[in-house]
Protein backbone atom coordinates (compact mmCIF):
# COMPACT_ATOMS: atom_id res chain seq x y z
CA UNK A 1 0.00 0.00 0.00
CA UNK A 2 1.15 3.49 -0.76
CA UNK A 3 0.24 6.15 1.76
CA UNK A 4 0.46 9.86 1.03
CA UNK A 5 -0.02 11.83 4.27
CA UNK A 6 -1.79 15.17 4.41
CA UNK A 7 0.12 18.12 5.74
CA UNK A 8 -0.36 18.88 9.44
CA UNK A 9 -2.65 20.30 10.77
CA UNK A 10 -4.91 17.79 9.10
CA UNK A 11 -7.93 19.27 7.33
CA UNK A 12 -11.39 18.50 8.65
CA UNK A 13 -13.28 15.91 6.63
CA UNK A 14 -16.93 16.80 6.07
CA UNK A 15 -17.80 14.09 3.60
CA UNK A 16 -19.02 10.49 3.51
CA UNK A 17 -18.19 8.66 6.67
CA UNK A 18 -19.41 5.75 8.78
CA UNK A 19 -19.35 5.73 12.57
CA UNK A 20 -17.97 2.89 14.68
CA UNK A 21 -20.26 -0.07 15.27
CA UNK A 22 -18.78 -1.41 18.46
CA UNK A 23 -15.19 -1.63 19.65
CA UNK A 24 -14.04 -4.03 16.96
CA UNK A 25 -15.49 -2.47 13.85
CA UNK A 26 -13.49 -1.07 10.99
CA UNK A 27 -9.76 -0.75 10.53
CA UNK A 28 -7.77 -0.06 13.68
CA UNK A 29 -4.22 0.43 14.76
CA UNK A 30 -3.59 -1.86 17.71
CA UNK A 31 -0.26 -2.53 19.35
CA UNK A 32 1.41 -0.83 16.44
CA UNK A 33 -0.33 -2.95 13.81
CA UNK A 34 -2.94 -1.93 11.25
CA UNK A 35 -5.73 -4.45 10.85
CA UNK A 36 -9.40 -5.34 11.11
CA UNK A 37 -11.42 -7.93 12.97
CA UNK A 38 -12.74 -10.90 11.02
CA UNK A 39 -15.34 -13.25 12.41
CA UNK A 40 -14.34 -16.80 11.60
CA UNK A 41 -15.69 -20.18 12.65
CA UNK A 42 -13.22 -20.20 15.49
CA UNK A 43 -14.12 -16.74 16.72
CA UNK A 44 -12.77 -13.24 16.15
CA UNK A 45 -9.38 -12.76 14.59
CA UNK A 46 -7.49 -9.53 14.10
CA UNK A 47 -6.15 -9.69 10.55
CA UNK A 48 -3.18 -7.41 10.06
CA UNK A 49 -2.05 -5.46 7.04
CA UNK A 50 1.02 -6.69 5.24
CA UNK A 51 3.91 -4.39 6.06
CA UNK A 52 4.75 -2.00 3.29
CA UNK A 53 6.32 1.41 3.49
CA UNK A 54 2.84 2.92 3.20
CA UNK A 55 1.39 0.84 6.03
CA UNK A 56 4.43 1.64 8.16
CA UNK A 57 4.06 5.37 7.47
CA UNK A 58 0.35 5.30 8.25
CA UNK A 59 0.86 3.44 11.52
CA UNK A 60 3.66 5.78 12.56
CA UNK A 61 1.49 8.78 11.85
CA UNK A 62 -1.39 7.34 13.89
CA UNK A 63 0.91 6.46 16.77
CA UNK A 64 2.51 9.89 16.76
CA UNK A 65 -0.79 11.74 17.02
CA UNK A 66 -3.25 9.36 18.71
CA UNK A 67 -1.33 6.27 19.86
CA UNK A 68 -3.81 4.09 17.98
CA UNK A 69 -7.51 3.76 17.27
CA UNK A 70 -9.90 3.52 14.38
CA UNK A 71 -9.36 4.78 10.86
CA UNK A 72 -11.70 4.73 7.88
CA UNK A 73 -10.49 3.94 4.39
CA UNK A 74 -12.96 5.47 1.97
CA UNK A 75 -13.50 3.77 -1.40
CA UNK A 76 -11.37 6.35 -3.21
CA UNK A 77 -8.48 5.87 -0.80
CA UNK A 78 -9.08 8.93 1.35
CA UNK A 79 -7.98 7.93 4.83
CA UNK A 80 -9.98 9.50 7.64
CA UNK A 81 -9.36 9.53 11.38
CA UNK A 82 -12.31 10.13 13.71
CA UNK A 83 -11.38 12.26 16.68
CA UNK A 84 -12.65 11.81 20.22
CA UNK A 85 -16.26 10.59 20.46
CA UNK A 86 -16.59 10.76 16.67
CA UNK A 87 -17.19 14.46 17.16
CA UNK A 88 -14.92 15.45 14.33
CA UNK A 89 -13.02 13.74 11.53
CA UNK A 90 -9.82 14.70 9.81
CA UNK A 91 -8.34 13.61 6.53
CA UNK A 92 -4.91 12.23 7.34
CA UNK A 93 -3.90 11.05 3.91
CA UNK A 94 -4.62 9.06 0.78
CA UNK A 95 -4.01 5.36 0.35
CA UNK A 96 -3.58 3.61 -2.95
CA UNK A 97 -2.31 0.45 -4.54
CA UNK A 98 -2.51 -2.95 -2.88
CA UNK A 99 -3.70 -3.34 0.68
CA UNK A 100 -3.21 -6.91 1.80
CA UNK A 101 -4.60 -8.41 4.99
CA UNK A 102 -3.09 -11.54 6.49
CA UNK A 103 -5.18 -13.83 8.65
CA UNK A 104 -4.12 -16.02 11.56
CA UNK A 105 -3.66 -19.00 9.29
CA UNK A 106 -2.71 -18.84 5.66
CA UNK A 107 -5.58 -16.57 4.67
CA UNK A 108 -4.69 -13.58 2.57
CA UNK A 109 -7.05 -10.88 1.36
CA UNK A 110 -5.54 -8.71 -1.34
CA UNK A 111 -7.88 -5.83 -2.09
CA UNK A 112 -6.23 -5.31 -5.45
CA UNK A 113 -6.73 -8.88 -6.55
CA UNK A 114 -10.21 -10.14 -5.83
CA UNK A 115 -11.22 -11.23 -9.33
CA UNK A 116 -11.68 -14.76 -8.03
CA UNK A 117 -14.55 -13.60 -5.84
CA UNK A 118 -17.88 -14.10 -7.56
CA UNK A 119 -20.77 -11.79 -6.68
CA UNK A 120 -22.96 -13.61 -4.20
CA UNK A 121 -20.10 -15.55 -2.62
CA UNK A 122 -19.10 -15.28 1.03
CA UNK A 123 -16.85 -12.30 1.69
CA UNK A 124 -13.74 -13.80 3.26
CA UNK A 125 -12.62 -10.66 5.08
CA UNK A 126 -13.78 -8.24 7.75
CA UNK A 127 -17.47 -7.40 7.55
CA UNK A 128 -17.34 -4.06 9.32
CA UNK A 129 -14.95 -2.14 7.09
CA UNK A 130 -15.85 0.36 4.40
CA UNK A 131 -18.32 3.11 3.91
CA UNK A 132 -21.90 2.29 4.90
CA UNK A 133 -24.26 2.86 1.99
CA UNK A 134 -27.58 1.77 0.60
CA UNK A 135 -27.98 0.10 -2.75
CA UNK A 136 -31.23 1.13 -4.40
CA UNK A 137 -33.40 -0.83 -6.79
CA UNK A 138 -31.56 0.62 -9.79
CA UNK A 139 -28.17 -0.36 -8.43
CA UNK A 140 -27.21 3.19 -7.44
CA UNK A 141 -25.54 3.79 -4.10
CA UNK A 142 -26.53 6.41 -1.57
CA UNK A 143 -24.81 7.35 1.62
CA UNK A 144 -25.86 9.45 4.60
CA UNK A 145 -23.67 10.84 7.34
CA UNK A 146 -23.85 13.14 10.32
CA UNK A 147 -21.53 15.95 11.28
CA UNK A 148 -21.70 17.67 14.66
CA UNK A 149 -22.12 21.44 14.50
CA UNK A 150 -22.25 24.21 17.07
CA UNK A 151 -26.06 24.20 16.90
CA UNK A 152 -26.61 20.44 16.81
CA UNK A 153 -25.77 18.38 13.77
CA UNK A 154 -25.98 18.34 10.04
CA UNK A 155 -27.09 15.30 8.08
CA UNK A 156 -26.18 14.82 4.45
CA UNK A 157 -27.72 12.33 2.05
CA UNK A 158 -26.04 11.90 -1.29
CA UNK A 159 -26.14 9.58 -4.28
CA UNK A 160 -22.48 8.59 -4.47
CA UNK A 161 -22.68 6.23 -7.45
CA UNK A 162 -25.22 6.12 -10.25
CA UNK A 163 -27.39 3.21 -11.49
CA UNK A 164 -25.45 0.00 -11.93
CA UNK A 165 -27.28 -3.10 -13.19
CA UNK A 166 -24.45 -5.55 -12.59
CA UNK A 167 -23.99 -4.35 -9.02
CA UNK A 168 -27.69 -4.83 -8.40
CA UNK A 169 -27.45 -8.31 -9.87
CA UNK A 170 -24.61 -9.07 -7.49
CA UNK A 171 -26.67 -7.79 -4.59
CA UNK A 172 -29.57 -10.05 -5.57
CA UNK A 173 -27.20 -13.01 -5.60
CA UNK A 174 -25.89 -12.05 -2.18
CA UNK A 175 -29.35 -11.45 -0.74
CA UNK A 176 -31.85 -13.40 -2.87
CA UNK A 177 -35.29 -11.87 -3.03
CA UNK A 178 -34.15 -8.36 -2.11
CA UNK A 179 -33.81 -5.37 -4.42
CA UNK A 180 -32.28 -2.85 -2.06
CA UNK A 181 -30.48 -2.81 1.24
CA UNK A 182 -27.47 -1.84 3.27
CA UNK A 183 -24.00 -2.40 1.84
CA UNK A 184 -20.45 -1.34 2.56
CA UNK A 185 -17.93 -0.06 0.04
CA UNK A 186 -14.36 -0.89 0.93
CA UNK A 187 -11.14 0.63 -0.25
CA UNK A 188 -10.79 -0.22 -3.93
CA UNK A 189 -14.56 -0.06 -4.50
CA UNK A 190 -15.44 -3.58 -3.36
CA UNK A 191 -19.04 -3.81 -2.19
CA UNK A 192 -20.15 -6.21 0.55
CA UNK A 193 -23.41 -6.77 2.37
CA UNK A 194 -24.39 -8.60 5.52
CA UNK A 195 -26.93 -11.34 5.00
CA UNK A 196 -29.16 -12.60 7.76
CA UNK A 197 -28.54 -16.31 8.25
CA UNK A 198 -31.00 -18.92 9.41
CA UNK A 199 -29.38 -19.12 12.82
CA UNK A 200 -30.18 -15.45 13.40
CA UNK A 201 -26.64 -14.24 12.88
CA UNK A 202 -25.36 -12.39 9.86
CA UNK A 203 -22.50 -12.98 7.48
CA UNK A 204 -20.82 -10.72 4.92
CA UNK A 205 -21.23 -11.52 1.24
CA UNK A 206 -19.49 -10.10 -1.80
CA UNK A 207 -21.69 -7.98 -4.08
CA UNK A 208 -19.27 -6.71 -6.70
CA UNK A 209 -17.10 -3.74 -7.44
CA UNK A 210 -17.63 -0.16 -8.49
CA UNK A 211 -14.99 1.81 -10.25
CA UNK A 212 -13.36 4.21 -7.82
CA UNK A 213 -13.49 6.85 -10.55
CA UNK A 214 -17.17 7.35 -9.67
CA UNK A 215 -16.07 8.79 -6.34
CA UNK A 216 -14.44 11.76 -7.99
CA UNK A 217 -15.08 15.26 -6.83
CA UNK A 218 -14.73 14.34 -3.16
CA UNK A 219 -12.14 17.04 -2.68
CA UNK A 220 -15.09 19.36 -2.05
CA UNK A 221 -15.67 17.66 1.30
CA UNK A 222 -12.25 18.68 2.56
CA UNK A 223 -12.86 21.78 4.60
CA UNK A 224 -11.59 24.88 2.95
CA UNK A 225 -11.00 23.24 -0.42
CA UNK A 226 -14.48 23.44 -1.95
Amino acid sequence: MIFQPEAFPFPRWLGPYSPARGNNSGFRVRSGLLGATVVTESGQEFWTAQQTQGVHDLVQLIKAHWQGGRIVFLPNGFTVKPLQNDSERVLIGRSSDALILNGDGCQVLDFSNLQHLAPGSIWPGPGTIGLESTIRSDGSLTSGWYRPTEYGQEETQEVIAGPNASLLEGFRKARPGENSGRVRITIGGHVTTNRQERNGGSRPYYVGRVSTSVFRNWERWIEGRA
Binding site: Y151, G152, Q153, E154, E155, Q157, E158
Partner: protein, 241 residues
Protein backbone atom coordinates in the same frame (compact mmCIF):
# COMPACT_ATOMS: atom_id res chain seq x y z
CA UNK B 1 -41.50 42.47 -8.95
CA UNK B 2 -39.86 41.93 -5.53
CA UNK B 3 -37.47 39.03 -5.16
CA UNK B 4 -38.84 36.33 -2.94
CA UNK B 5 -36.26 34.79 -0.64
CA UNK B 6 -36.04 31.37 0.92
CA UNK B 7 -36.77 31.43 4.62
CA UNK B 8 -33.75 30.87 6.85
CA UNK B 9 -35.68 29.37 9.77
CA UNK B 10 -37.51 26.11 10.30
CA UNK B 11 -39.33 24.63 7.30
CA UNK B 12 -42.27 22.59 8.64
CA UNK B 13 -42.15 19.98 5.80
CA UNK B 14 -44.12 16.82 6.58
CA UNK B 15 -46.99 17.79 8.79
CA UNK B 16 -50.65 16.82 8.91
CA UNK B 17 -53.18 18.62 6.73
CA UNK B 18 -54.56 20.07 9.94
CA UNK B 19 -51.25 21.72 10.79
CA UNK B 20 -51.25 24.37 8.07
CA UNK B 21 -53.34 27.29 6.98
CA UNK B 22 -54.41 27.57 3.40
CA UNK B 23 -55.58 30.32 1.08
CA UNK B 24 -58.63 29.03 -0.78
CA UNK B 25 -61.38 30.45 -2.91
CA UNK B 26 -64.53 30.72 -0.77
CA UNK B 27 -67.64 32.25 -2.32
CA UNK B 28 -65.51 33.69 -5.15
CA UNK B 29 -63.16 35.32 -2.71
CA UNK B 30 -59.67 34.28 -1.60
CA UNK B 31 -59.76 33.57 2.11
CA UNK B 32 -57.60 32.18 4.84
CA UNK B 33 -58.95 28.75 5.73
CA UNK B 34 -58.04 25.99 8.08
CA UNK B 35 -58.93 22.32 8.17
CA UNK B 36 -60.59 21.46 11.40
CA UNK B 37 -61.53 18.18 12.98
CA UNK B 38 -63.13 17.88 16.37
CA UNK B 39 -63.92 14.22 15.96
CA UNK B 40 -66.99 14.82 13.85
CA UNK B 41 -65.29 14.80 10.48
CA UNK B 42 -62.99 17.08 8.60
CA UNK B 43 -64.16 20.49 7.43
CA UNK B 44 -62.77 23.72 6.12
CA UNK B 45 -63.34 26.83 8.18
CA UNK B 46 -62.83 30.25 6.63
CA UNK B 47 -61.40 33.11 8.63
CA UNK B 48 -63.91 35.70 9.68
CA UNK B 49 -63.33 39.32 8.80
CA UNK B 50 -60.15 40.84 7.39
CA UNK B 51 -56.67 39.39 7.09
CA UNK B 52 -56.71 40.14 3.36
CA UNK B 53 -53.14 41.37 3.68
CA UNK B 54 -52.01 37.84 4.46
CA UNK B 55 -54.05 36.48 1.57
CA UNK B 56 -52.46 39.00 -0.75
CA UNK B 57 -48.95 38.26 0.43
CA UNK B 58 -49.42 34.50 0.10
CA UNK B 59 -50.91 34.83 -3.35
CA UNK B 60 -48.23 37.25 -4.49
CA UNK B 61 -45.52 34.71 -3.67
CA UNK B 62 -47.47 31.74 -5.01
CA UNK B 63 -48.18 33.53 -8.28
CA UNK B 64 -44.66 34.87 -8.68
CA UNK B 65 -42.90 31.60 -7.96
CA UNK B 66 -45.44 28.92 -8.88
CA UNK B 67 -47.62 30.77 -11.37
CA UNK B 68 -50.89 30.42 -9.50
CA UNK B 69 -52.47 31.66 -6.31
CA UNK B 70 -53.88 29.76 -3.37
CA UNK B 71 -52.35 27.08 -1.22
CA UNK B 72 -50.75 26.35 2.12
CA UNK B 73 -48.88 28.73 4.38
CA UNK B 74 -47.61 28.90 7.93
CA UNK B 75 -47.14 31.58 10.55
CA UNK B 76 -44.60 30.78 13.22
CA UNK B 77 -44.04 32.02 16.75
CA UNK B 78 -41.98 34.94 15.46
CA UNK B 79 -44.95 36.06 13.33
CA UNK B 80 -43.04 35.22 10.17
CA UNK B 81 -45.25 34.32 7.23
CA UNK B 82 -43.81 31.24 5.50
CA UNK B 83 -45.08 30.11 2.13
CA UNK B 84 -44.22 26.65 0.79
CA UNK B 85 -43.97 26.10 -2.94
CA UNK B 86 -43.12 22.85 -4.67
CA UNK B 87 -40.21 23.18 -7.06
CA UNK B 88 -38.40 20.31 -8.78
CA UNK B 89 -40.43 17.85 -6.72
CA UNK B 90 -39.50 19.29 -3.35
CA UNK B 91 -40.99 22.03 -1.21
CA UNK B 92 -39.19 25.32 -0.82
CA UNK B 93 -40.30 27.76 1.88
CA UNK B 94 -40.31 31.45 1.11
CA UNK B 95 -40.40 34.33 3.54
CA UNK B 96 -43.56 36.43 3.23
CA UNK B 97 -42.82 39.13 5.79
CA UNK B 98 -43.86 39.79 9.34
CA UNK B 99 -47.56 39.59 10.12
CA UNK B 100 -49.72 40.08 13.14
CA UNK B 101 -52.45 37.50 12.77
CA UNK B 102 -55.53 37.27 14.84
CA UNK B 103 -57.52 34.63 13.03
CA UNK B 104 -61.04 33.97 14.18
CA UNK B 105 -63.12 31.22 12.65
CA UNK B 106 -66.71 30.31 13.28
CA UNK B 107 -67.57 26.81 14.35
CA UNK B 108 -71.09 25.77 15.36
CA UNK B 109 -72.09 29.40 15.73
CA UNK B 110 -69.28 30.28 18.09
CA UNK B 111 -65.92 31.91 17.47
CA UNK B 112 -62.87 29.70 17.36
CA UNK B 113 -59.38 31.12 17.63
CA UNK B 114 -55.84 29.81 17.70
CA UNK B 115 -55.27 31.49 21.05
CA UNK B 116 -55.17 29.28 24.14
CA UNK B 117 -58.82 29.63 25.13
CA UNK B 118 -61.57 27.06 25.55
CA UNK B 119 -64.83 27.16 23.60
CA UNK B 120 -66.42 29.01 26.50
CA UNK B 121 -63.75 31.70 26.32
CA UNK B 122 -61.92 30.62 29.47
CA UNK B 123 -58.14 30.49 29.32
CA UNK B 124 -56.63 27.05 28.86
CA UNK B 125 -54.32 25.56 31.44
CA UNK B 126 -51.49 23.19 30.58
CA UNK B 127 -52.90 19.68 30.31
CA UNK B 128 -56.26 20.86 28.95
CA UNK B 129 -57.45 19.60 25.56
CA UNK B 130 -56.42 21.89 22.72
CA UNK B 131 -59.67 22.71 20.95
CA UNK B 132 -58.46 25.40 18.57
CA UNK B 133 -57.25 25.01 15.01
CA UNK B 134 -54.02 23.05 14.81
CA UNK B 135 -51.73 24.87 12.40
CA UNK B 136 -48.30 25.06 13.96
CA UNK B 137 -44.62 24.57 13.51
CA UNK B 138 -43.34 21.09 14.39
CA UNK B 139 -40.65 20.61 17.01
CA UNK B 140 -39.52 17.44 18.76
CA UNK B 141 -39.08 16.79 22.46
CA UNK B 142 -36.02 14.53 22.40
CA UNK B 143 -36.17 11.04 23.88
CA UNK B 144 -35.41 11.43 27.57
CA UNK B 145 -37.40 14.64 27.67
CA UNK B 146 -34.38 16.84 28.29
CA UNK B 147 -33.98 18.69 25.02
CA UNK B 148 -35.92 20.08 22.08
CA UNK B 149 -34.81 20.01 18.48
CA UNK B 150 -36.03 20.64 14.97
CA UNK B 151 -34.89 19.50 11.57
CA UNK B 152 -34.87 21.59 8.45
CA UNK B 153 -33.11 21.64 5.09
CA UNK B 154 -29.78 23.47 5.16
CA UNK B 155 -29.36 26.67 3.14
CA UNK B 156 -26.21 28.28 1.85
CA UNK B 157 -24.84 31.35 3.62
CA UNK B 158 -24.94 33.28 0.36
CA UNK B 159 -27.37 36.08 -0.41
CA UNK B 160 -29.84 35.14 -1.71
CA UNK B 161 -29.70 31.74 -0.04
CA UNK B 162 -30.26 28.50 -1.87
CA UNK B 163 -30.84 24.93 -0.74
CA UNK B 164 -27.81 22.74 -0.06
CA UNK B 165 -28.99 19.55 -1.77
CA UNK B 166 -29.27 16.56 0.50
CA UNK B 167 -28.22 18.40 3.65
CA UNK B 168 -30.45 18.64 6.72
CA UNK B 169 -29.75 20.66 9.86
CA UNK B 170 -30.77 19.38 13.25
CA UNK B 171 -30.82 22.27 15.68
CA UNK B 172 -30.87 21.47 19.40
CA UNK B 173 -32.11 23.91 21.99
CA UNK B 174 -29.37 22.79 24.41
CA UNK B 175 -26.69 23.70 21.87
CA UNK B 176 -28.28 27.03 21.10
CA UNK B 177 -28.93 28.15 24.67
CA UNK B 178 -25.98 26.44 26.36
CA UNK B 179 -27.81 26.84 29.65
CA UNK B 180 -29.27 23.77 31.34
CA UNK B 181 -31.64 25.74 33.51
CA UNK B 182 -33.16 27.50 30.52
CA UNK B 183 -33.54 24.24 28.61
CA UNK B 184 -35.17 22.65 31.65
CA UNK B 185 -37.61 25.57 31.73
CA UNK B 186 -38.42 25.13 28.05
CA UNK B 187 -39.09 21.39 28.19
CA UNK B 188 -41.04 21.26 31.45
CA UNK B 189 -44.56 21.81 30.15
CA UNK B 190 -44.11 19.53 27.17
CA UNK B 191 -42.50 16.75 29.16
CA UNK B 192 -45.35 16.90 31.66
CA UNK B 193 -47.64 15.82 28.82
CA UNK B 194 -45.41 13.69 26.61
CA UNK B 195 -43.28 12.10 29.31
CA UNK B 196 -39.71 10.93 28.88
CA UNK B 197 -40.45 9.25 25.57
CA UNK B 198 -40.58 12.65 23.93
CA UNK B 199 -42.16 13.19 20.52
CA UNK B 200 -43.51 15.82 18.19
CA UNK B 201 -45.28 18.96 19.34
CA UNK B 202 -46.40 22.14 17.65
CA UNK B 203 -45.99 25.84 18.36
CA UNK B 204 -48.45 28.21 16.77
CA UNK B 205 -48.41 31.90 15.91
CA UNK B 206 -49.36 32.87 19.46
CA UNK B 207 -46.56 30.81 20.98
CA UNK B 208 -49.04 28.21 22.18
CA UNK B 209 -47.68 24.69 22.47
CA UNK B 210 -49.84 21.65 21.84
CA UNK B 211 -49.06 18.03 21.20
CA UNK B 212 -50.92 14.96 19.93
CA UNK B 213 -51.25 12.21 22.50
CA UNK B 214 -52.81 8.80 22.09
CA UNK B 215 -54.42 7.98 25.39
CA UNK B 216 -55.19 4.46 24.26
CA UNK B 217 -58.93 4.96 24.56
CA UNK B 218 -59.54 4.05 20.93
CA UNK B 219 -60.46 7.60 20.04
CA UNK B 220 -57.29 8.36 18.15
CA UNK B 221 -55.08 11.32 18.91
CA UNK B 222 -56.01 13.94 21.46
CA UNK B 223 -54.30 17.31 21.23
CA UNK B 224 -53.19 18.62 24.59
CA UNK B 225 -52.19 22.17 25.47
CA UNK B 226 -48.71 22.33 27.04
CA UNK B 227 -48.45 26.05 27.80
CA UNK B 228 -46.76 28.97 26.10
CA UNK B 229 -43.18 29.22 24.89
CA UNK B 230 -40.92 31.37 27.00
CA UNK B 231 -39.09 33.64 24.53
CA UNK B 232 -36.15 33.79 26.93
CA UNK B 233 -35.79 30.03 26.79
CA UNK B 234 -36.40 29.34 23.15
CA UNK B 235 -34.71 29.28 19.76
CA UNK B 236 -33.65 32.74 18.62
CA UNK B 237 -35.60 34.44 15.88
CA UNK B 238 -34.18 33.51 12.45
CA UNK B 239 -32.64 36.35 10.48
CA UNK B 240 -35.06 37.86 8.00
CA UNK B 241 -34.65 40.67 5.47
Amino acid sequence: MPEHLLYRGLWPQSVSQLAKYSVRMVDREWKVTVRYDLGEGLMYLAVEGGETDIVDRVNQIKEAVAGQGGGAFYINEYHHLIVPITRDGTSHYFYGGRVNPNFTFEFEGRPLTSRPVARDGESLSPGDPWVGPRPGIPYVLAAGGNDIYFQTPALTDAAPPSVRPGVTRQVKLSKVLRDRALVARAVRGIRDVRGHQGGRFYVNEHGSIFTPVDRGDGNGLNYIYCGQIDPGAWFPEPSVP
